[in-house]
């Protein structure tokens, strides 16, 4: 059994119809968008603590300085990069409808570019917590 058919069987257990790349790209766009929005609401409150002076603000920032939060920030960065690139793809398809013929390679490109960008980004962001 090939890897592709194995994957198809596994997803058939979740939803009974064939999931297309278009659906996954679209769903990922919404999921990453909502995730970044939730973070933005928290981030605004966190940053407003700066008006309460250095003691309060630096203590607030201290709450965010640990490995679990840093891992969350890496997920946030990935969500933002994906949402940006996929958004650019949507704009391209909207304003130049002939590019719809390239839908699948464009979608693969967005995913590959996001993963590639995340390699150096997550290495830098993890550095203070890394054992090396």
């Amino acid at each position: 059994m090939t890897f592709a058919s194995r994957l198809a069987r596994a997803q058939a257990r979740v939803v009974s119809y064939r999931v297309s790349w278009a659906q996954l790209a679209w769903f990922g766009h919404r999921l990453s968008g909502i995730g970044v929005l939730v973070y933005l609401f928290i981030h605004i409150v966190e940053t407003s603590m700066v008006t309460l002076g250095p003691t309060v603000y630096d203590a607030t920032l201290g709450l965010f300085r640990n490995l679990p939060i840093r891992l969350g920030e890496i997920v946030l960065m990935a969500a933002l990069v994906y949402h940006s690139l996929n958004g650019l793809k949507v704009i391209l398809l909207d304003f130049f409808p002939t590019t719809t013929a390239w839908y699948r390679p464009l979608t693969y490109g967005v995913v590959i570019a996001t993963l590639t960008a995340m390699i150096p980004l997550s290495l830098v962001m993890l550095a203070p917590y890394a054992p090396w």
């Binding site: 700066v50 940006s84 839908y103």
Partner: protein
């Protein structure tokens, strides 16, 4: 056979058709694309500076860091622009998701209305801080310490 709105993953079009007639939805269609284009640079730039370049230059975000950063009008304008565009773009996106998932009725009105109120409150708070933050007036010891 009808797939699409009956399944939770949804049935997305490859691209959103541009609304033809004038009106609110056409405004939001253009706003999402234009603000999205600006946010690619503003939001990614912000994350790159605050999470990557600060890290690489061995600095740390702190009260002193924010004070010196917001000492120049450029970064205040940058942050205010980023705040307004990101919040309105994100909240409108969430509104579209709610309208897709919740059928027309009182629940939808409540959710969209609540989201709008939340957005206005957070937008005012954020703008107040970015525009009026004055390090000389900030207390040395906070009210909670």
């Amino acid at each position: 056979m009808s797939v699409g709105r009956t399944v939770w993953l949804g049935n997305p079009p490859a691209r959103q058709p541009r609304p033809v007639g004038p009106g609110r939805e056409r405004f939001w269609w253009w706003f999402m694309r234009l603000s999205g284009l600006a946010l690619v640079f503003l939001a990614l730039g912000h994350m790159l500076i605050m999470h990557v370049l600060v890290q690489l230059s061995g600095q740390e975000v702190s009260f002193a860091f924010v004070t010196s950063r917001w000492g120049t009008p450029f970064w205040r304008i940058y942050d205010a622009l980023l705040l307004v565009l990101a919040l309105v773009h994100g909240v409108n996106g969430a509104r579209v998701v709610i309208t897709d998932l919740v059928p027309r009725g009182s629940v939808r009105t409540l959710l969209v209305g609540g989201l709008g109120l939340l957005a206005v409150a957070w937008l005012l708070l954020g703008l107040f801080v970015v525009v009026f933050f004055n390090p000389d007036q900030a207390p040395a010891v906070g009210p909670f310490s």
